[in-house]
């Protein structure tokens, strides 16, 4: 080798590592949106897509501007957002509470995990008539539906997160004679926070789905009522405005949770 080294062919070793490491590329998602909407606009303008198949994005936008200028947007949005906030707050806080109890006490776990598993797959929308009977046609039945729908995924995410808290940290707490309450509030809860927050992302998306369902029955104002009305008239422009508002709502909720994660979980590596 040593004598031939001068004569032998030389070649850089091929690179074959890299990849499999997600990086943040902020604008790509935005470009995908713009591209899709642009394609739809182009298709509808040229007549390649008939106006019966898909409304023109520019018409949808004009309808949205109308809705905004007439002041009806806030009339629909404010009740919807308040239903979402109240319903999801009840569901998530009860869910986190029950989830922590399941995570901490074997008896509660044995009693409630099968129950949660039993109510998780029930389509909550099917229970709306029942909630109307129990809580009346007004706001409380809507809160109940959203709360119930948020509750189950939050419970499952929370007790999973509590189970995953590093046991060696809990042993450490005991070895320094910390009280049970301190161990729960200073070690278990902060340790479970990443899991609880990522569970909330799922729960709150479900809450938005249920919000629309709840408003389809006995609501005068609300995004759901707006969509239902547009749908029954086959007014596709307004239907799409409603759906877009829901999407924006979903993205905003997800952004708020992202903000919380950045603030609360900056200790993560």
């Amino acid at each position: 080798m040593s004598e031939d080294a001068q004569l032998a062919t030389q070649k850089t070793v091929d690179f074959r590592g890299g990849g499999f490491a997600p990086q943040s590329k902020k604008w790509v998602g935005f470009i995908v949106f713009v591209l899709l909407i642009g394609l739809a606009e182009l298709g509808t303008r040229t007549g390649f897509i008939t106006s019966l198949t898909l409304p023109k994005p520019s018409d949808v936008f004009a309808t949205f501007v109308d809705l905004w200028q007439s002041g009806l947007l806030w009339k629909h949005l404010i009740p919807s957002v308040s239903r979402l906030v109240i319903g999801a707050a009840i569901g998530a806080s009860v869910g986190i509470g029950v989830g922590v109890l399941i995570g901490l006490f074997s008896l509660v776990r044995a009693g409630l995990v099968p129950l949660v598993a039993a109510i998780f797959p029930i389509p909550k929308i099917a229970l709306l008539p029942l909630f109307v009977i129990w809580f009346g046609i007004d706001e409380p039945s809507k809160y109940a539906l959203i709360a119930f729908g948020t509750f189950t995924p939050t419970v499952v995410a929370t007790y999973g997160a509590v189970d995953n808290v590093d046991r060696s940290l809990i042993r450490m707490g005991q070895s320094f004679s910390l009280s049970w309450f301190s161990i729960v509030t200073k070690i278990v809860l902060p340790g479970a926070m990443p899991g609880i927050l990522s569970g909330l992302r799922v729960s709150l998306a479900i809450a938005i789905i249920l919000l629309v369902a709840a408003e389809m029955l006995g609501a005068e104002y609300g995004i759901g009522a707006y969509i239902l009305e547009a749908g029954s008239l086959y007014d596709l422009e307004r239907l799409f405005v409603g759906v877009t508002i829901l999407s924006i709502l979903g993205v905003s909720v997800s952004a708020v949770i992202g903000l919380f994660e950045n603030r609360l979980l900056d200790w993560r590596t």
């Binding site: 940290l169 042993r171 450490m172 301190s182 902060p190 200790w267």
Partner: protein, 255 residues
């Protein structure tokens, strides 16, 4: 305060972990416990500090711990066990808060222990920013903060590289020389044992029994890397353990 182990035995289900362990832990001395893997060294330490209940025998506390001792039996863990969401000072105040020590009093203790472990500049750092050696220094200062009567050290240097281990051994010797503390120091590293132990307890493989107690008389401060007397002691320990270690290595695990 001394500790005395009286006929400690322990088993998980049918498996005997250790048997008939009698040991004196005198105040102001570092007792090292060595033995082949699976001999129950770490279990023994958990029994001493009351994190686990022995199947037979008992751990006796002889005399009262000093009045200013906040947590008489205090552990230092191999994996540091720092809360990743608290800063260095937050991790130390964690163990003081629960004993009603807050404000200026806590502040004084924290500054003192951070100075003793050379961590003053890292007070506001989060664990993720620290190297392994620094993390263990934080854990040591957290233990010092509660003024333990006995420190229970579970392979404290095993997760560190060999250079950092040397540095931390010097630190521990320095801490002991300035203010002698009592410690039970579990390790599988014979070099650490001869450098830090006033006496070294050799356990047999499972079920763990005390095979021999080796006293090292040289003062801690004089023990240096590569000292011939220490080398001899270390070799003696290895000869005691060698066959057991080979046998333990070949054992099938069915836990």
């Amino acid at each position: 305060m001394d500790l005395r182990l009286e006929g400690i035995g322990h088993h998980y289900g049918d498996m005997e972990i250790m048997q008939g362990i009698d040991l004196e832990i005198p105040a102001g001395k570092i007792i090292c416990v060595v033995g082949p893997s699976g001999c129950g060294k770490s279990t023994l330490l958990r029994l001493i500090g009351g994190l686990e209940r022995p199947s037979t025998g008992r751990v006796v506390q002889v005399g009262e711990p000093p009045i200013d001792s906040i947590n008489p039996l205090t552990y230092i863990f191999q994996d540091f066990a720092l809360l990743p969401w608290r800063t260095v000072e937050g991790n130390i105040s964690l163990v003081l808060e629960d004993h009603g020590i807050r404000g200026a009093k806590a502040e004084k203790i924290i500054s003192d222990v951070l100075a003793r472990t050379k961590l003053t500049d890292f007070r506001k750092a989060l664990p993720k920013q620290l190297s392994g050696g620094m993390k263990q220094r934080v854990a040591i200062s957290r233990a010092l903060a509660v003024k333990p009567a006995v420190m229970l050290m579970d392979e404290p240097l095993s997760a560190l590289d060999s250079q950092t281990r040397e540095l931390l051994m010097d630190d521990l010797v320095g801490l002991w020389t300035r203010e002698p503390f009592t410690a039970v120091y579990v390790t599988h590293n014979l070099n650490e044992a001869v450098r830090l132990g006033h006496s070294i307890v050799v356990l047999s493989r499972r079920p763990g029994r005390i095979r021999e107690v080796v006293d090292v008389t040289m003062s801690l401060a004089d023990r240096e890397l590569g000292d011939p007397e220490l080398e001899r002691q270390q070799k003696h320990l290895w000869n005691l353990m060698r066959d057991e270690a080979v046998a333990a290595d070949k054992e099938l695990l069915n836990v």
